[in-house]
Each structure stands twice: as C-alpha cells, then as structure tokens.
Symmetry: C2
Subunit: 411 residues, 2 copies
C-alpha cells in the first residue's frame, strides 16, 4: 500500500445484512472526511453476499477485509486467508474470536496485518481500544461489564414496570431489542463469548468460549427485583473477568449492584465496561449496545485506525465561528411576595419572550414564597431578557438565580 492521494484504500466487505448495509452507507457518507483526516479515501472494493460476489477476487483487490458474515464457517477460512495474505481484518464476529482467537492472532502476527475487532464486544463502547492501547502498559485486575444489550433492556423493563421476565421479553421482541429466538442472549452465552475476548486482551491469557461458565436471566422473577430494590440494589447481567491469585476467573451471571456502582446506572439496551487497575483505580465506558448503525460505526473506527500511519497528529484545524448565544433549558429561582397572581405575572413575562415552563415548585416562607422553575429549551438571550424583566417586578424579593439544565438525551 502506498499513501499516494490518487490511490483509494480498498475495503472488501463480506456480508451485507443489517450491519453490512449500514457500514457501507456510513463508509460512503464519511469517505471524504476520512480522506481529509488520513490522506487516503476508503472505498468499497467488492461485496460478498449470500447470492453474489467471489471471495478470491474481492481479496485480491482489497487492502482490508471487513468480515460481517458471523458464525465460524465460512468466516474463519476467509479471515485466515485475508490475514495470511497481509490484508488487515476488521470483524464484528465474537464467535470467531472467542473460539479461534489464537489462530487469527497468529496469522496476523506472521504477516504483520492488523486484526481489529472493537465491534465484536460491546457495540460502540470502545473497550478493546482502551484496554489494548490506553491500558496496554497497565496491570489490569478486573474487567466487569454489561456486554449484552438485550438482557439489560429486559432487566431494566422489569425493574421499572414490575413486569415478569416473560412479559418483558415479549415486549423486547416486539420492539426489536430481542430476537425471535433469544437463547444466545438470555442464557448469557453471547456475553460469555465477549468476556472470553475481553479476558484474552486484558490479561494476555488464552480463554476459549467453552471455558467461561455462564448463567442467564431466564429464571429471574419480578419478586427478586422488587425485594432487591428495598435493599437499594439493581439487577444486571454481569460479565466478569478478574485475576484470582495466579489464575483468572471469567464468568457471566446476573448480579445485584449497589446504587453507587458505575454499572448500576446503565439502563435500557446500553452496554458498559469497567476496567480496574491499581494505578488508574477504574475507567468506565458506556454507550449503546449493538445496533446496525452503532456496530457499523465501531467497524468504521477500526477501518480508519488500520489506515492511520503511526503518527497520531490531527490534520490542521480550521477556523469555525464560535457561537455564544445557545439554546438551553434553564432553572429559575426567585423569591416573591406571596400574593395572588404572582406566578401568573412571572409566567406571562416568560411566555411573551417565548419561554415555556416545564415544571414549577412553589413554597411559602412566611410572607414570601419561593418559585423554582425549569424551562423548556430556549435561546439564552431570550431567557435572560425575561429574567431581567422579572427581576424588576415590584413583588420580587431577591435577585433571580439562573442555572442551566441539561435534559436527559438518551436512554
């Protein structure tokens, strides 16, 4: 591969299902940005689908192979051929890595090609990169994670609604968060494969999927969750890999977490991984579990990394206008005389400036009252203008206090 700007970086794509199609679309959308960053434009050199394409031909004209077929056969054969032929390999295939990791890494070491697999483990959560690069020199003690979005979605629903496991599973299937046959997910087997991969990387240890004991969530009852709530606990399906003496313990099981645990607040279909090491204490990474566009994005990140020469320096920056008057939600706190019509006048001023109130708490304190309000998002200048007017009202007893509010964006 030369770095000539005229020559594109050729990506051979194996598999064109949900993730494959999303990856192809994202690659085309971001190709110019990648070229600006890296100096070479990535483009799809060929696509192998169930019905068409020839692997040998695609391999021949590719610098890098993206394997999104899944399963072992024929994916393993293709992956080994690609690596032995000196092509970088990016894969989202956890079966392949947790069963045949050594063979694949050996092939990559022998040819000097890169083997990258961020998308195989925790969706868009960059656990592989952080463990393999940021913490390459660290002595890692434990990796703990929520690495299956389907089961986390089900457990979160059970916790919030009191639903039974069966009902929560049915809802997850209806919403597309669980497959028609959810066995791999709900038994913990999917998480076990991911923990085998993480353990290998974090501890440099051979761990085969078949060596990871796993329990799932099928026997969890609404009662378990309800009682645990009283003890301040929330239930998650946890994958754990940790040093124990000279050995390793790698397991998957449902576990209760205390409210303060960094994984306890990870809800819905999100994934998260906590890495513990004496020097760093811990790092927690969280984000959406596998979805088509998220997995595609993790794959593209790996492709771009494989393209980047060792120097890690950003391209020259450009001058973008800096905006300071920004839309935001706001909290307003003001003390007022406790007269009828006071709240109405405050609300009217806000309304005239286009500021809409989301919630109000009013509390009497002697002859005065305190108003604490949260507004829907509005341009700061408009809100400040309203507050300025409110501050001049004769029944206002204190300088209004303003603090921004950041709304919950995603679940």
């Amino acid at each position: 591969m030369t770095a000539s700007p005229a020559r594109p970086f050729r990506v051979g794509l194996l598999g064109h299902g949900t993730v494959g199609a999303a990856f192809r679309e994202l690659l085309e959308e971001r190709a110019d940005a990648v070229a600006a960053e890296v100096g070479q434009r990535p483009e799809v050199a060929g696509v192998l689908t169930r019905s068409g394409g020839d692997f040998a031909e695609i391999l021949e004209r590719s610098d890098l192979i993206v394997e999104l077929i899944g399963g072992t056969d024929p994916a393993l054969g293709y992956a080994l051929q690609a690596l032995r032929g000196g092509r970088h390999l990016v894969t989202a295939n956890k079966q392949l890595l947790s069963r045949h990791g050594e063979e694949l890494f050996e092939a990559a070491r022998a040819s000097g090609a890169q083997l990258r697999y961020e998308a195989a483990v925790a969706g868009v959560v960059p656990a592989i990169r952080v463990i393999g690069e940021t913490l390459a020199a660290a002595h890692i003690e434990r990796v703990h994670g929520i690495v299956n979005g389907t089961t986390n979605f089900i457990l979160t629903a059970m916790e919030r609604t009191g639903a039974s496991y069966e009902d929560a599973l049915r809802d997850a299937q209806a919403l597309g968060y669980a497959e028609a046959d959810p066995t791999e997910d709900v038994t913990g087997k999917d998480a076990a494969a991911k923990m085998a991969i993480l353990a290998r990387l974090a501890f440099g240890a051979l761990v085969h999927l078949d060596e990871v004991p796993y329990e799932g969530i099928e026997t969890i009852t609404a009662d378990d969750i309800a009682y645990a709530k009283e003890l301040g606990l929330s239930l998650k399906l946890i994958g754990s890999a940790e040093r124990r003496g000279d050995g390793l313990a790698v397991q998957v099981y449902p576990a209760f977490l205390y409210a303060g645990h960094p994984l306890a607040a990870v809800n819905g279909s999100f994934n998260a991984v906590t890495i513990e090491s004496p020097a760093i204490t811990e790092i927690t990474l969280s984000g959406p579990g596998a979805g088509g566009s998220q997995t595609a994005s993790a794959v593209l990140g790996d492709v771009v990394s494989a393209m980047i020469p060792p120097a890690f320096n950003p391209a020259p920056a450009e001058r973008l206008p800096l905006v300071t008057d920004v839309e935001s939600a706001f909290y307003l706190h003001v003390e007022v005389a406790d007269h009828p019509g006071v709240l109405a006048q405050v609300a009217e001023i806000l309304g005239l400036q286009g500021v809409s109130i989301e919630s109000v708490v009013q509390k009497g304190i002697g002859e005065d009252a305190r108003l604490a309000m949260v507004m829907h998002p509005v341009l700061e200048s408009r809100f400040r203008a309203a507050v300025d007017l409110i501050g001049r009202l004769d029944f206002v007893r204190s300088t209004p206090r303003v603090i921004r509010v950041i709304a919950e964006v995603f679940e």
Copy 2:
C-alpha cells in the same frame, strides 16, 4: 529509532513533581511488561528538575520527551525543540495545548513526531484517544463533560451534606482535593482550557482558551442544590462543546442534570466525558480525575502508544489457570414458615459456614414470611453449602434463590 531488542526506548522526563515522580516509578515498575508487549524496553534517559539536568543533553539522548513542567515558559520552548528534533512528545500540560496547540501540532506534522496529551484533559478518562481514534471518522455533534475533579468533589459534598460552598471547599482543601488557591478550578478556567483542547480535536477547529466563556461554582448556594433536588436534578460543572449551525459553541457553566443523564451519576472527584454523534448515539467515559498516579498512568499509556508500531496485534497469549470458585457477596431469598427462631436457625447455618450477613429484610405473607438477605463476600462453595443446608430445613417453604451482589468499589 531501530526496534532492536537490545536497544531501550529512551524517555526524557521534564519535571519531577508529584506526577513526574509517580510516572518515573510507574515506568520502572511496568518496563518489563511494556517490553513484552512492544518489543522495546522503555527507560528514563534523563530528568530535568528545577535544580538539575540539562535540557539539550536530555533531548539528545531521548526518543521521546515527557513534559510535566506545566505552564508555558519554559515548557513551550522545550516542547517545540523536542518535536522539531523529531522526538515524540507526551504532555499533561493543558495551558500549553489550549494556548499554543497550533504551533505544537504544526511542529509535530512537520517532523512526523507524535504529540500525545491524554493526561491534559480528563485525568485517566481516555477522551483524547476515543475522540481521536475510535471516532476519527465520526461526525461528532457534541462533547459534554465533567472535566474538573475539584469542583465535582465540592458539588457532590454540597449535595450530600447540605453544606455551603465555603464549607465544602474548606473540606476539599483539607482532604487534598482542592489547592490552597483554588481559583483556576472553582472559576471554571481549568475546565475551559480542557474544553478548548477537546473542541479542537472533536471538530478540527481552532479554539483558543481565551475564546471559551466560563462560569464557575463560587456563587452556587446550598439552596440551589436543595430546591433542584425536589425537581430531580443534580448540579455539575459542565464543559460543553457543540456544533451550532455552521459554528461551534464552547462553554463552561454549572448546570442541572436530570437523574437519567449519563453524567448525573458521576460523583466525587471523578471526571466523565460524553460524546454524541448520530451514528453512535453517545459514548460516555468516566474515571478518576487527575491524581498523581492516575495522571502518570495516562502519560504512560501515551508513551506506550508512541512506541507501538502500527500493527495492533496482542502478543501471544499464555495459559493461565481458570478459577471458578470465587469470593463474592450474595443475595439469598427464601420463604419460611413465620415461626419464632427461624431467622436464628438460618443465621446459625450461615455462620457455621463462615458466611456473614450484611443486611436482612423480613416480611410476613399470611402464615409465611419472606427473608431477603445480603451477605458479605464469601467463597461461593461455602455459601452454596450453607444454602443447601438451609434448603433442607423443614420450615423452609421455597427453594432458596441466590443471586450475586457486586459491592460499590470506588466513589
């Protein structure tokens, strides 16, 4: 630099304060592990302190310079000389990068040396790597973060204890979480420098520290926090950088977050960064803010990355014993006849197996009662033996249910 195994990778260290000393110690401790991973052993080629060492000599015999002096002068001159001389530079200096980033990146691009600065932004939280590498190809919409541990420590204390700002600051100073002169932290200026660096990387935009408006936490009152709690909000000092039309808004301000926001659960001196992009939804990274050993660990991660040739393949894995009987805390749920002495018998069996009870909830249901208990950590085999015995007691009405409990590890 040749990759000959006989030749060490020489690191010149500028500055030998808390972080410098911690880095030197960590480097020596991990040098063999790094050599096994990367093929070259890192070692300190020279140290420049206030009282000793000669920069030109150190530069001459180094492959990479670690700059931990802080401030602009003489750090900027040293940094530029190092990069222009083709030496990689790893720095934790946010002033340098937020004021002179362009000059430094230009020097790095010109010589092909690497400029790495993970430790300058959010302690051990790998925001720079994830934005610069995982998300190199992503269209980032917003970067939101808690990038100052001192202020987060103070705000968390105010929220938990109802303390005033002044009292919480005094406590933070006594505990070493705030400096004697806390101005840079509490005014938001420290966070502003970090957001300038993050914005540059996330958006490829020129952002100078002086262009980032910032507000601090000095005027926050215990009342603000108490009232907001009633609205389900918690207060954080937020650094925000986001696209607005064709421009950028980069700011630092105190803001309320709803309970479900990924940054709302980040407490104490921890830092966290949330990155939003349409393809990935969001990624949140969290971990301890700057402490000596944490910052040193981030610096070492950068040093190792600068040493790694482009191929990203782990060293051959070794076979470690897999342990399956592991110490853990457990939850036990069992239905029993509601007789006197029942709890005592259950507790006795647990005690005989060395299982110690942390908490119990007992609830009557008709003639029966439910016991929900959480145990202190114990070897699983011992706990299972106790549960087996409990299951055989004649007053036990249900199969005992067992679920692991993961305790809160860190704050």
